[in-house]
Symmetry: C2
Subunit: 590 residues, 2 copies
């Protein structure tokens, strides 16, 4: 009962899964380890924002307009299909057939991901693509938004969506977070929470679902300084890097230290590389096989237009490489977008170590002339000139100096500014700091996908494939310890209950089994859900108070006193003591 | 930044709040303490289910039809109002006016909560109620469902709702949970998760919100045996009980031991009382003032028709008593409802200690006659008779014995069964056990409301009200320890960073402040967010490695070696060491 389809008794709905007791426990453990590794270690600002998001915020972020898949429908059955998938299938078929259209198809194939709606539509027509199975005609291509929509309130209800990512909640709180952080950059905020996507084709159990847990970090920094103060701590980490050039050359991923990768420019900056390194260490700590982990750089056409660089954390499973996290340099896009839409100043201020003497260009309104030309509107023009941005001022100065007319935006219209309407004052100014929109480096993890890959890597069989085992790290295992009475007698069961109670006191999740069935069968049952340790109470226990402690993977056993059990198991689970160390100091009976 | 309105930069939407860093940390701590106290302590089966819920499941639970508020609208402005609130206001006014209608109004007032839509509508007419403010006419009363609606999928999208409570996910998984528990009752399942209600009038910050965290327990047991194996552990707990009779008599709540309350029947059964006791202990452990905590029994008209008994866990705050949890005996309603709707057998089986000899009544089809009467449909009738429930069989036997005709439901229609069509066989049978739908005892907690009350109880001021303090328990506090360098010098800051790093190693959330501003101001700042301990590094620290450790509420200080800091602070936070004990063994300098 790790996972089960939600509302299965009603037939369920594709893409929704519930975590049963062991799945829920593993998920909590992985999430807590993630939090310890990233949030606590870096003193990140963790927040918890609402999932229901007003439309205005997701319009600002671009999700209302662009978080879509292109679709077509079978005109007769009404069945919907992803337009890009049908087109790719058709192009591949055309290449295989090697007919007249093969060359065109070969050219188009790698570009499908970049195509706009009109282009996909026309290519579907050009290749005469029909509905799969039925061969019926297809409708025109249309855009389907992947967000779940709802309404808030009663009358004049507000349109809202379930968030498709947790990030927007952090961005909208940026100003307060900056203040909370003493107005200092860089800092990182984090959020673990549920996101929702109305996926068209949910598949692969936890791989593409409609409701899922994300763990996202938004690292805010000066766009001109993406160094990371702790980069040295990961510069020797040497993961498999699968950069753009390597992919295009058809070569396999290669190991490289992060220090070298930043030096050669393979990874755009230290902060991106720092999170790649930390992610690699995290993968190792939760029991992923890091020889089957790689970081794949996005190709130019995969990235959003504003992104500077992006690396996917990918894990190889039985069914191929699975994207478990994306680590992206999103430039200043997010904060710019929300600042523009909300009209809130979301810039950070950085004081320079030394004041700087900089060129400044000021447009000084010639009030007399402006008054004559614009009469009652003159004051509005003067205000607009006084509050114009430096960038606009430079542009206007350029035009006026060239003897051209410049346009000036007022609240509701534009006016023409001729040379002579203003004086251009170019001088020097002592500047103590600068305001700027921060850049965002975003490591975004899918907890369900990480679990899927961990299940894949931890699973093995023994006894000629008859017994299955999950080799979960003790910190990840849903149940830390099983407690057995060797046979079902009152005296042994009583002792077992005492041991169980002592584990509860240390908050160690355990299972108590006094069924008295064969101990081998009981070990096998706990191996199946990955319980790392088993305690057995036998007749000797009644005499001297000792019990056996068995380790899951080696199946080795040692004897120790029952009073030591909670402390020893806790140390093993917390990683303060290894099994080998324990064996060296204990008395083996295995 | 404990809480802040969601998407404030866009003006926000009423009833949605984000938790900023300290709020998020307190919430995680309270949730984890809840989990340790209830889930880990009792080995409950914790699950995590999806929020998006198909309509069929919420139709089965009754939410689609009955999770509504009655509304009216101002015919001119379109403004919506709760119909029951307007009616209550009007009735109170009529009582005050002491006119003709005063007696009727006095009679109706206590019944408003029980009224159906038609009755409210007619009472609004009878009292000529108009829209507040405008005095305009009101529309007819209509029912507004409080669930957020959405659609899943593209074509023929399925209607779904955001769950209004986490419980339904547990109920729908009951069969698998029972199996996971070795088919044994009683057991409890638990879930912590987000629920959503489109409240008409969100108010009181965290008190009535539209998106909130619930922590729910569903304790499944035999409806004929609601004893609890651990009841003895709470029978001496003596909370304020505010039972139905006391409320109706207008008396205040009184302390009573849970043992006595169960014995006298004030609390319906041991399991209800057990959870009341555990909730009381929990309240104490997170720092609520238990003299301002009571358990209020629902009046008959507050309870759902199927509920046996229900007690609200209420906490007194500045603004009155706040309902923070409900502990309800929901009888077998939930499992019955889902079993009926899903046609899945969700009964549990209980083996009797000894087989029992019970009366059984069997309806034996008279195949010959049935064949003649029903010809080709005879087999369907025979099947229906063979599979009829014992209850239906008893009913049919009664009718036939009285010479009447009984109706029998087939898949698509009914047929009449006359005396003689069947033989009634009444005998004895040795029965080894019984199948039954389990009863559910449900303690359901609102995490946000508990936090609201805890903030209220923990808040105090000192220095003549100039300084505010949150007296959070160390286990609850968002930041466990602040680390200060007394003055801003490289040597002291370096030491402070070493201490901070040693706290990170123990996963102790801390704040590092090397600003060098007055230490009193810095203590005050950390008191504001309830940091229980402060470490100050001063010049002596550079000589002998000792630092001061200050406790927030007493403001007392002791000196200890910096190497001891992480262990001592951890022990204080985990409750393994009290401040008094530490003072007794340490050297005080405060």
């Amino acid at each position: 009962m790790f996972i089960t389809p939600s509302f299965k008794i009603y037939g369920g709905v594709a893409g929704f899964f519930d975590y049963g007791p062991p799945g829920c426990a593993v998920k909590q453990n992985v999430t807590q380890l993630w939090r310890d590794h990233f949030v606590v270690e870096e003193n990140m600002l963790e927040v918890e924002c609402c999932s229901v998001t007003p439309e205005v915020a997701l319009r600002a972020s671009g999700h209302v307009e662009r978080f879509t898949d292109f679709m077509v429908r079978d005109v007769k059955t009404g069945e919907s299909y992803r337009a890009d998938h049908l087109l790719e299938d058709a192009l591949r078929a055309a290449v295989r057939d090697a007919g007249q259209a093969a060359d065109t198809a070969r050219d188009l194939l790698p570009r499908v991901g970049d195509m706009g709606m009109a282009e996909i539509d026309s290519a579907l027509n050009q290749f005469g693509v029909k509905a799969p199975g039925t061969g019926n005609d297809l409708t025109h291509t249309w855009a389907f938004n992947l967000m779940f929509k709802t309404q808030v309130g009663t009358r004049g209800a507000k349109e809202a969506y379930l968030r498709p990512e947790t990030a927007q909640g952090i961005f909208s709180n940026f100003k307060e977070l900056l203040y909370y952080n003493g107005s200092k950059l860089p800092f990182a905020a984090a959020q673990v929470g549920t996101s929702y996507r109305n996926e068209i084709a949910p598949r692969g159990s936890l791989l593409r679902v409609r409701e899922f847990t994300q763990a996202e970090i938004e690292h805010f920094c000066n766009p001109n300084d993406k160094r990371h103060p702790k980069f040295d701590s990961v510069s020797d980490v040497e993961p498999l890097l699968y950069d753009r050039a390597t992919q295009l050359a058809g070569l396999p991923a290669a190991s490289e230290t992060l220090g070298a990768a930043v030096k050669t420019g393979t990874i755009a900056n230290q902060t991106l590389a720092y999170y790649i390194g930390r992610t690699y260490v995290f993968a190792q700590s939760i029991g992923l096989d890091v020889s089957r982990v790689r970081f794949r750089q996005h190709l130019a056409n995969e990235m959003a237009h504003y992104a500077t660089d992006c690396w996917d954390f990918e894990v190889q499973c039985a069914h191929g490489w699975v994207e478990c996290a994306g680590i992206a340099d999103r430039s200043t896009y997010d904060i710019d977008a929300h600042a523009t839409s909300s009209k809130v100043d979301m810039r950070a201020y950085e004081q320079f170590p030394e004041p700087r003497n900089v060129d400044v260009l000021t447009i000084v309104p010639n009030k007399k002339i402006l008054g004559k030309v614009f009469t009652k509107h003159a004051q509005a023009v003067i205000n607009a000139l006084n509050t114009m941005s430096e960038c606009d001022a430079v542009e206007m100065a350029g035009k006026l100096r060239a003897g051209l007319v410049a346009r000036l935006a007022l609240d509701d219209r534009h006016v023409d500014v001729h040379p002579g309407f203003v004086t251009i004052d170019a001088g020097k100014k002592l500047v103590h700091g600068a305001r700027f929109a921060p850049a965002v480096i975003e490591p975004s993890f899918g907890i369900g996908r990480i679990m899927y890959c961990m299940f894949d890597h931890c699973f093995y069989t023994r006894d000629d494939g008859q017994r299955t085992v999950f080799a979960f790290r003790p910190s990840v295992a849903p149940v830390k310890c099983a407690v057995f009475s060797l046979v079902n007698t009152h005296a042994l069961n009583e002792r077992a209950q005492l041991v169980a109670a002592s584990l509860t006191k240390k908050r160690l999740v355990h299972a108590l089994d006094t069924s008295g069935i064969s101990i081998g069968k009981r070990y096998a049952r706990t191996d199946e859900i990955g319980v790392p340790f088993g305690i057995t109470i036998d007749h000797t226990s009644l005499q001297d108070g000792t019990v056996t402690l068995r380790e899951r993977d080696s199946t080795a056993q040692i004897r120790l006193h029952m009073d030591e059990v909670p402390t020893v198991v806790k140390a093993l689970v917390d990683g303060d003591l290894s099994w080998t160390q324990l064996q060296a100091q204990g008395v083996s009976s295995g």
